[in-house]
Amino acid sequence: MIERRAAPLLPTILVCAGGLYCAYLVRQALMPFVLSFALAYVVNPLIDAVETRGLRRFHIVLAFYLLAAFLLYLLAQYLLPLVSAETSRLQADAPAYLARAQKFAADLQSHAARRLPRSGLPIGQLASHAYASALEQLQLVPSYILSLFPLISLFFLVPFITFFLLLDGPLLISTLIQAAPSRYVEQSLHLLNEIDASLGHYLRGILIVALAITVVSYVGLLALGVNAALSIAVLSGVSSFVPYLGAVMGALVGGIAAAVQFGTAKAGLKVVLLFVGIRMGDEMLLQPFIARYSVHLHPLLFLLSMMIGGEIFGFLGLVFAVPTACIIKALLNVAWEWYVSEARLRGHDTRACVAVPYT
């Protein structure tokens, strides 16, 4: 009888827990690496697809970067005039919009007063507060722009780190496999594959959703004649990295913008309906395709992971809460499968088929 050695489970768990705590302590420094890792994960299948033709990975990654830079340049050529036009239009129209909003609030108050004479709704007071607050915020815009400068460093740092992750990603996996104890190589591969499957599909899926929401909402808002269509579409697309938030943000901001621009609640309602349609389209067309291969989380686990992620890491925590939960679920799945297979709790019985003689 062959002696079986137990896997060093407890030390592994302790080392992992220690590593996670250290990562938590240096979470700010890790942010560009986490973003780069996610970006590399999304781009890697493209690099792999070209690599099957036998080309050197360095040349493929370099060519990809040159192509991406060229496409970004073209996109910037198209987008910058649009953004500039939208900003100047917003600056020019802002006083008129604010006046219209005040008038809308006053109309609402008089309407409410006619219907509910004793209600004494402080709509006018609230509108004055909102007006003062809006003016205050407009004065703070330069400081908001200055506060975005640390993000500009990410704009350069993330592609730089991603370049090396794309280049040396396979080497990293090989090193991990080589470092695994010889007898546990198969288990290590099992774990890597489970994580790769759930994480890769989730990250690629959420990027597809964000792009789709941005494009469709931009086209839809343009069709409805909303002025700041691009800004609202981009805001909606970026927010959709947090599950379900994209359509909500789009409907809220777009609805208010349309109502203020056209001076009617009906225009705002049209925008809200547009985003309801986008959300339904996402649910019916994209999600079945995206969720096909990714790890399915129970809604309660989903909610819990979002709350914990948001509490610890803020917005990025919300974005990466679900992938992290997917990794944890993959780890638990693998541990359970090992336990079941080692304990022989489950096994495919082929004896029924084997009973038929070999002919």
Binding site: T52, G54, V185, T350, Y358
Partner: protein, 166 residues
């Protein structure tokens, strides 16, 4: 489409070419095309085992196919007295542990590296991924495995005197 020679020298990856050439030399993958072999190389992992390192132990759950590129691997099986008995020595170009690709059952032997050995691993879920995304490659691998199984079954039946070996 293969690259022209002067471009090949600059752009082609010698390591990937070497792996591709090795895999093509095996019966299991001999019918695969250039691009198919590229997909296969990407879905395989390689590892170096040093002398005396154990690849798997009899009774472990199998999850991967092993292909020996260089070195020697010894397969042993526990005898009635519990002592390991040598049953086969794997030579370069041979593969083993292939039944793990079909079902997750305990390994029937222990594999140990007799010398420094370079081994390719095709993990079960990678094969499933190949079957999903590149069915042509998957079908060829599965056909070869089925033929191998059939041949072994015939040999076993023949040894037991049930039927003539063909």
């Amino acid at each position: 489409m293969p690259l022209p020679r002067f471009l090949k020298r600059i752009f082609s990856d010698p390591e990937a070419s070497h792996k591709r050439a090795f895999l093509r030399s095996l019966d299991l993958f001999s019918d695969l095309r250039f691009m198919d072999l590229g997909h296969l190389v990407q879905n395989m992992h390689d590892r170096t085992y040093h002398e005396g390192e154990v690849l798997f132990v009899e009774g472990d759950i199998g999850r991967a196919l092993f292909i020996l590129e260089s070195g020697k691997i010894e397969l042993t099986k526990a005898g009635p007295d519990g002592k390991p008995q040598k049953i086969y020595t794997i030579q370069p170009g041979e593969f083993f542990g292939e039944m793990a690709l079909l079902e997750q059952l305990p390994r029937t032997a222990t594999a140990t590296a007799l010398e420094r050995s370079q081994v390719f691993l095709l993990y079960r879920s990678k094969l499933e991924s190949i079957l999903n995304y590149h069915p042509r490659i998957g079908v060829q691998i599965m056909t070869h495995l089925a033929q191998l199984l059939s041949a072994r079954l015939r040999r076993a039946s023949s040894a037991a005197g049930c039927m003539p070996a063909s």
